[in-house]
Symmetry: C2
């Protein structure tokens, strides 16, 4: 029956959202932008609002939506607390507004509006009981004026157009109100989106105590998160030697990712690194320095892991009774047993998954609030979709960084099911076009509602592109790109010293990789770029524009080796323009083609470009300043300000 069809406005493409109903992501204290396509038949004006609330709360906090263009509407709402939230979009016909708009046009054209005035009076009358009691007298007076034959039509219309009358009627939701589905959004703390990470292997600093001593320097450089590769007992069976060889020497420490020995498994600490007390002291010292500790969460076992003996059913067993080691045929990784997340028996699966969860809970109990998850794409997505929300339900401040250097759709899926951040392909994006497309994609692409990037120039596994045998200038360039293209970025300790020796032409790893040996480093080296890193982190802390993701604009440079982009806070109070020389060997120059509107400056007036790296201040006028950058000092980081 036609009468069962609901009168409605069309609401479509509501964002933020994920492809399959998992919560999108937001940050507490940052404005959440809610948008939707809203339209209906004909020419009536529409009105809309968005509502947000923590799940469990009865009260929506609402904000009116405004029309951008092409039927796209937007509202900004603030999520104030961490945890699961939900939001909704409502839209309806703005009946009084439409009347007002049409009648003004007719009046302006000199058309008789006697009938329109009566229609307007009836409209307002019908809405009297929907407004605040205090506004009713005001509206009754307006109605009387609209109907007063002693006044001119323009005078009568003016009564309906008075701002207080418009205001009193503005909040009314009309009868054809349409509600969107309710969408969930997970609100994280700030660090989920923005932070500077520093990775260090405690064993190269003499263990946890030595690493604790290193923390002051790391904090001084301006890092927010110290990430530790696995600190658990390292297996002995099939232990790898230096440079990933199969015949370790007696002093070779083995890979920290070969987890588990007679000394314990994922909840134990490798004895040569120290004790729980040492770990607690490390966490406490980091906290005192306003940093926090991220721990590696690598679900795999060495053959010596207690789980292998206690729970062979948690692994893949072969017909001869042995346990299947990791392979990438024909390559063998006999020092690693992958876990079988789907044991045949349900009770075994419950026990295994609970044990995995207990590992995380154990370290949460020791003060860890960030986990860097190793190779999540080799474990089942349904496992993560189960584990991560179950942890966050108890500990909503816990964050997860996905080390999913894998295919793009899996990377996105892991973000969708709950990872707070993800490593990215930044490491392999080196040309201007690649960097521009990729930064644009992570900021505005289809995954931007739920996948947050963390850009790393190198990791213990990856020394790629121009950093291979790269100069200190290139190390500066790649760090600067990571730190200014993405609100979260990280470095692997040793980056200060521009460690640049590749394993081989064909192999992307480091020679003398710290994964297989203890490294001695002289951080007092005069060629260290630590001062540059300190400067960059300081700039990031003073410029909130750099700590946002979806606020980047790219500018023309007419030179493929010079890249220029800016970031601006939503309120326009902070604008930073970055110009980078991507050429590792030559000085490059160009006349820029700036998008002045994106920089918030006037085309006709001088503006100030203050280089936060050098302290120099340039007075620029117009869109085409000239820049010149050497490979040694490959960037300007310019604070843009109008001259007062």
């Amino acid at each position: 029956m036609a009468s069962q069809v609901k009168r409605s406005v069309i609401i479509g493409d509501v964002r933020p959202r994920t492809p399959t109903g998992y919560p999108a992501k937001a940050v507490a204290g940052r404005r959440l932008r809610i948008s939707a396509d809203i339209f209906k038949d004909g020419h009536d004006l529409l009105a809309a609002r968005a509502g947000l609330r923590p799940v469990g709360s009865k009260k929506w906090v609402t904000a009116p939506m405004t029309l951008l263009e092409n039927d796209r509407w937007v509202a900004g709402l603030d999520a104030t607390e961490v945890g699961q939230h939900e939001f909704v979009v409502e839209a309806w016909t703005d009946v009084v507004g439409t009347w007002r708009h049409d009648t003004e046009l007719k009046a302006a054209a000199g058309v008789d509006i006697a009938l329109e005035l009566e229609e307007g009076a009836l409209l307002v009358e019908a809405r009297l009981r929907k407004v605040h009691r205090v506004d009713r007298d005001l509206l009754r007076a307006a109605i009387n004026t609209m109907r007063d034959p002693s006044l001119s039509q323009p005078e009568r219309l003016a009564a309906a157009l008075a701002p207080e009358v418009v205001g009193a009627l503005a909040e009314i939701i009309e009868g054809d109100v349409t509600k969107s589905s309710v969408y969930r959004v997970w609100v994280d703390r700030e660090r989920a989106l923005a932070g500077a990470w520093y990775e260090l292997f405690p064993r190269s600093y003499g263990g946890l105590k030595g690493a604790t001593e290193r923390l002051d320097a790391v904090a001084e450089m301006g890092y927010d998160v110290v990430y530790l590769p696995p600190i658990h007992p390292v297996g002995v069976s099939h232990r790898k030697g230096r440079n990933n060889t199969l015949d370790p020497g007696p002093d070779d420490p083995g890979s920290p990712w070969a987890i588990g020995s007679a000394d314990g498994g994922h909840t134990a600490i490798e004895p040569s690194l120290g004790t729980y007390e040492d770990f607690d002291a490390f966490v406490a010292r980091a906290r005192a320095l306003h940093m926090e500790v991220a721990l590696d969460y690598a679900l795999q076992c060495s053959p010596d892991h207690p789980w292998v003996i206690e729970h062979p059913e948690w692994f893949h067993q072969r017909p001869d009774g042995t346990i299947k080691y990791a392979e990438n045929p024909p390559k063998k990784y006999q020092d690693i047993y992958p876990i079988n997340f789907w044991p045949e028996n349900d009770a075994d699966r419950d026990a295994l998954w609970s044990a995995c969860r207990d590992v995380m809970e154990f370290w949460i109990g020791r003060g860890v609030r960030i986990f860097r998850v190793d190779n999540p794409h080799t474990k089942p997505v349904p496992f993560w979709a189960w584990l991560l929300p179950s942890i966050q339900a108890e500990h909503p401040d816990v964050l997860f960084l996905s080390e999913a250097f894998t295919r793009p759709k899996m990377m996105a899926k892991l973000a969708e099911v709950g990872f707070s951040q993800s490593y990215t392909y930044f490491t392999w994006r080196t040309t201007k076009q690649e960097l521009t497309e990729y930064a644009d994609e992570v900021a505005y692409g289809p995954t931007a509602d739920y996948m947050r990037p963390n850009f790393w120039p190198t990791t213990p596994d990856i020394l790629s592109g121009p950093l291979r045998n790269g100069t200190p200038g290139v190390f500066k360039q790649r760090l600067l790109l990571a730190a200014t293209l993405s609100p979260s970025y990280g470095v692997y300790g040793g980056y200060e010293l521009c460690e640049n020796e590749p394993f081989s032409e064909a192999n992307e790893e480091f020679l003398h990789s710290e994964k297989y040996e203890i490294k001695q480093r002289d951080f007092t080296s005069p060629t260290s770029i630590a001062p540059f890193m300190t400067c960059i982190n300081d700039i990031r802390r003073r410029h909130p524009a750099l700590l946002e993701l979806d606020n980047i604009t790219f500018h023309d440079t007419a030179n493929d080796q010079l890249m220029a982009y800016s970031k601006t806070t939503a309120d326009g109070s902070d604008t930073v323009l970055v110009v980078v020389n991507l050429d590792p060997v030559a000085t490059q120059e160009a006349t820029l083609g700036l998008n002045l509107a994106a920089l918030g400056v006037d085309t006709e007036r001088q503006f100030e470009a203050h280089d936060e790296l050098t302290g120099a201040t340039y007075m620029w006028l117009g869109a085409n300043p000239y820049v010149r950058l050497t490979p040694e000092d490959p960037a300007h980081v310019l604070h843009i300000r109008e001259v007062s």
Copy 2:
């Protein structure tokens, strides 16, 4: 509980689909391409299949899916009948295939595979009861060979790799099978996607009888559909005169869209046009000429329409008791009363919507199977979402063309809720870049799964761009673009004669518009481009590649005035390359940059480019032939063939 989590493969972004669950669209007798993202953790091989069936049928017709790239899988299935269908995607781990792949790699690397052979034998054994009875002996023999210690490992492995063994195991769906949601797809007959339309006003041919006489010529030109603007009684009140004036002369016929008079409403025929018998004869003659008739469906009334007297509650009533006429403030359209689709009373709404449905049913009863719906965007989307499927449930062969020259999101929404085709923005896309982007968007953009374009160079309302005061060459150019960029296109009768006089500089309509007066035309004029139109329609009928939408490739021309694109059938049996000179006044030439792979020809061998317009045949070699086109004969339509 972890044990309640389902083991699964990830299936995402299944297509075709619409944004909110309405059926996507397909065509009977054409291959339906079903695709999805399919992946899971780790490196196991996956297998997948797609299933399709008419709604109501129990039996799925299935086809295996194959991996394209980036985790995208695809299958082709044929919908054989018109009507509602549903499809599903299923994916699972190819356990045996993974074993086979890994074991082959190990064997090739010379690794001992004794254990692998036993694992393989166990895998096959476990699947014995899942295969056809006839295959079991075959598999048992293979198992025995795999376990035979008297044979070499390569010999034992060969038994597992034998094609008949692989084939017997190929169809097995494993235990972790994941089923996508079930998606609906509406299957239309061919004409929903492809056809050449011809619009004519019967009154300019002396009414329906005279229009019937015109049909032979229309059929001879190669048109498939004859579309008639409203043929109903034209209102008298506030009738419009020639050139949309407010003071009609006594002989002025008024706008056919001012529907309804004392002679009847939407189910009546304007007496000056003829009788029902004349209409039936028109439909019959069209059918005899292998054409069909499309009727206008314009839900609005003149003040003289019977509904206005009988059902004032179906219109918007004003405080003084009058009925609200159409307006675009401050403009007034007093000859038109819009319908109020939401009368306050439910029974009134039922009666109104049923009456609208009855109008369509009435003309369906007189042999009409296509409706060209006037301004659907000024009527509620929920009305169309109710009406169109309810018509097609009874008459699945009925098609609806949406005249939604409106904002893009409304245009797409109308397509989504059930319109078979839509007018488009083609009329306003004239530069090479505009045409390329737009043709790409309709073929491959986000609406391609459910919105089918119909390209019209002009309509009675629109004479735009280079056609205003345009030369016959430009009329040829725009027709050719419409007819080869889109499988459906249409012309408004008179196009043959290159009617090109605009109403005014600022007004997009025709001077002496046929909407307000009877036109006399001399179709025997020696400057008629009817022979060109005939030739184009003939080419379309002989080249199935031109009757598809998502098969277009654009080629470089290094000249902004020369556009080149090709279309190829899925099986590669038909390829047409179109080169168009967009310059209305000058000859243009260029060396093309052809994508030879898209043309299906060898880079090293000569191929034939036969111009279907001129009959000339060019022998080309390589990607860079030279072309030169005048404004008078602005195109090559080249049938591309390898030389045998």
